[in-house]
Subunit: 196 residues, 2 copies
Amino acid sequence: MTTESALTPEQILGAAEDVLRRFGPSKATVVDIARALGVSHGSVYRHFPSKAALREAVTQRWLDQAHDSLQAVAEEGGPAGERLHRFLGTLFAAKRRKALDDPELFATYLVLVAEHSDTVAGHLEVLTGQVARIVADGVAQGEFADLPVPATARAVFQAMAHFHDPAHAAEWADEGRSTEDFEALWRLISEGLRRP
Amino acid sequence: MTTESALTPEQILGAAEDVLRRFGPSKATVVDIARALGVSHGSVYRHFPSKAALREAVTQRWLDQAHDSLQAVAEEGGPAGERLHRFLGTLFAAKRRKALDDPELFATYLVLVAEHSDTVAGHLEVLTGQVARIVADGVAQGEFADLPVPATARAVFQAMAHFHDPAHAAEWADEGRSTEDFEALWRLISEGLRRP
């Protein structure tokens, strides 16, 4: 039971995630979410003007979960190659955890993600921008070759799709194998970035 | 109308593809395929012992469509880098054509492919083996660095997933953009392969 006046968007999003997990994305309603919180559905609508807006906010929150730790890595100092390796490894670990620790919720989110292609595009733009920041540092410091930054960041991000795109989640189950594959691919990419 | 005695597996597979395109994978039956050929369903079963075997053969045929031209590229002589670029470009073009020229049939095949993971695994093994052959030539000729061949072939193939895995088909619609992306990623990979 939540006091209506103290209801925060974060509480609503948390309850929405529970309801989505329980009922699935096609059946979950705003009334279910309000009931789980012990408030009227009007209280939910006060924060999110429509069911679509609420679903989008839930999707955004899910996509952004590893965002803070990734931003921190992107902003670290030190050699760009090591930082990029850490960034891509952190990203892979976060996606892998989501896919394997709670497969039902992951499947639910894949449905939501397919509905909100703009939200996903924004999320990918943030990630590619973080990669670009590290690539730019590497080029500026002379650690990387003199590469065009945005195109190279995009290429690095696409090259690693196997290790962050949910479409490949089924291939992440074998941790030993996928870690080996990640490192082999990283070696290829990092050689490709280095100043000759 | 086909004479039963002259009925070839290839004719059955062609008819099965038409029926799958028309009825979709959940509704297409062996009786529909036999009817399209003007033969009894017994004649179809003489070549394919079960509906599952027939669906698997159709899937295999679809996966192998670009196989001969890819094998020819893998076996060409000349510089390994150029050959690998041509191989990956031919693969991307073939997958792209399948996805964009006949989207309904493509969607149908994605359903079949999901049912036949062993068939897909075999297909991917053949492709990775062809990449390995080119990488081995590049290493032997001293054009590429002294890299472990199977792991590197696997890494190259995974790096290019964006440009051959059907999971990424939605991202191939913009030909100019995806060609640019392909070339940017290829430059990174080819730099990574080269002898320093």
